[in-house]
């Protein structure tokens, strides 16, 4: 892998030169929250530790979108209208979230809607010498560093950036303005990188003992904890909407008034909702809220589907989102403390 470095002041210039690829996006402020949004100016970007309300999945697997329109003769997906975007400032945990979604949407039968958006999006990751926030659990989940899933990755080392080139698209982006990159990385720069990483490792405020938790989850299938959590859960769905690895969606057809026309759209669904597990004949496989929570936390903290690994990327969004304090931290703690 190619590693380069860049002077701190040059990022602005490089940012604008990426306009040749597509729209410029990144973390920006919207009222009280930070979101991934279109950045008209470099100064709109919040390039500092912190977390966006929704993960980057919202741009690749949107919360609601039209899949295709149809009439009696044909259907059209209009995939060619999906814009090309550069997203600067994607956190390592969000890139790990995308890698999980890639497994689901791109392996075996690739999903054309996901694939096109993924192909049209340049992911430029960034990490800092501090954790993003107090509720980050990425260190425990092993998602605080990232080896793949990005086109370029910037390590912010206070007075310069180390830049990893992660794909051929990343290389193309560098070629848009090669003058701002240097390849003469000396020992001092590497030492600064190692020192910064070590310092950051000491600053994480939260952790989960992932050595034992998956086994404890396995043994806690009949634990009364699930019913206790079910009594508390508001069933609002917030945890699943903000989760980078949640990928479930519903598909609905919209029939137009006349002429046999219509469209089909998708929107994010959520296994915490009772209707999600409702099947024909009014049967429900997960009638109680506790059972639905057990499924969700089983996926996040034990193993998800065929991939055998916990799906949680440790972003800590559920920690902030849940109004009644049910999240990966409190659930892990409750399970580890119960016998």
């Amino acid at each position: 892998m190619r590693v380069l470095w860049m002077e701190k002041g040059k990022l602005k210039e490089f940012f604008y030169s990426m306009k040749a690829f597509g729209e410029l996006w990144g973390p920006i402020q919207k009222g009280k929250t930070r979101i991934y949004g279109k950045a008209e100016n470099f100064s709109d970007l919040k390039l500092e530790p912190g977390r966006t309300a929704l993960p980057i999945k919202k741009l690749i697997h949107p919360s609601k979108f039209t899949m295709f329109k149809y009439d009696k003769q044909e259907y059209s997906t209009k995939l060619e209208n999906i814009p090309r975007r550069v997203i600067l400032g994607v956190s390592p945990c969000d890139i790990h979230g995308l890698l999980k979604l890639d497994e689901i949407f791109l392996e075996e039968e690739p999903d054309p809607y996901y694939e096109k958006r993924r192909d049209n999006t340049a992911i430029i990751g960034i990490s800092y010498c501090k954790p993003c926030c107090d509720s980050c659990i990425c260190q425990s989940m092993g998602t605080d560093v990232v080896d793949e899933g990005y086109d370029l990755f910037f390590s912010d080392l206070e007075d310069f950036y180390l830049v990893w080139v992660g794909s051929s698209l990343g290389d193309d982006l560098v070629r848009l303005n090669p003058a701002v990159f240097h390849d003469d990385i000396d020992r001092t720069k590497l030492e600064k990188f190692v020192e910064c990483k070590k310092e950051r490792d000491k600053l994480f405020a939260c952790s989960i003992d992932m050595d034992v938790l998956p086994d404890i989850m396995e043994l806690s299938y009949d634990s009364p904890i699930w019913d206790e959590l079910g009594d508390k859960c508001l069933e609002c769905g917030a945890c699943t909407m903000v989760c980078p690895s949640c990928n479930c969606y519903n598909v609905i057809d919209e029939v137009y008034l006349s002429e046999g026309k219509g469209k089909r759209f998708r929107y994010w669904d959520c296994c915490i909702f009772k209707e999600y597990s409702l099947v024909a004949g009014d049967h429900n496989f997960r009638e109680n809220r506790g059972e639905r929570l057990r499924l969700w936390y089983g996926h996040k903290l034990n193993s998800f589907g065929p991939y055998g690994r916990p799906a949680c990327v440790g972003c800590g969004r559920c920690v902030d989102a849940c109004p009644v304090d049910i999240n990966v931290l409190t659930v892990a703690r409750a399970l580890l403390e119960s016998k």
């Binding site: 069933e235 609002c236 029939v255 008034l257 006349s258 994010w268 909702f273």
Partner: protein, 261 residues
Amino acid sequence: MLNKKRIGIYSFTGCSGEQLVILECGKYLLKLYEVVDIVGFPMAQSKNTIMDLDIALLEGSITTESQLAELKEIRDSAKTLVALGTCACYGGIQSMKLGEGDWKKRFQEVYGADDKLYNKMKPMESKPCNEFVTIDYYIPGCPMDKGQFLHTISHIINDTPPHLYPFPVCTECKWKENDCLLNRGELCLGPLTRGGCGAVCPSHNIPCVGCWGPAEVTNMPSEYKLLLEKGYSQIEIFRNFRKFGGTPMVEKLKNMMEKLR
């Protein structure tokens, strides 16, 4: 096209907001007039009948004996009945004291103790349409959403079942990346309220007041306890729960109090 379906819109007690929403459908309203025969629509036309209806759209809650008689006549004349808006679906804001007794006393406090008016109007405590007749589909909202109305009506006209989101307001609120008002300590009814409005109030920093009526599956006891912890009084919480909650809320509150006892 085959025979056009006969559709009527009928209005009971409410603000007529649903008829206004239909009138605001612009080019889709013209399309609707093309594909169906609209035989009842008091806000838009003067000639209105209740006869051989394929689809009857109802707005408002039932508050007088004559409305009840009309509702039954509509049910008998229509193949499909759709309740439009929170009043028709759940009873609306005028049902906020449902089940608390002393209804006649409350009525006379407002309209006077004169029995002449009472006997002439034959009023009754406000209730949603499904208290008296079978309703086939519901489009909640205060007023209902134009998109949800067009979705439902198009599907029924084309003989396919409509599907409206059963999720709570919080879902769309998260999609919009709003700062959670409940987490900020506001009395927000998002988790208890039927979604579909696009979380319009929380998106403008205003807590959800529950105007789309109660979501089918909720955890009211948990939100109640949470609001008590946040310092709201029982009276204040119940008043908010009941404001737009109508008949389902009477049941939900009863279950909640039994559970908490």
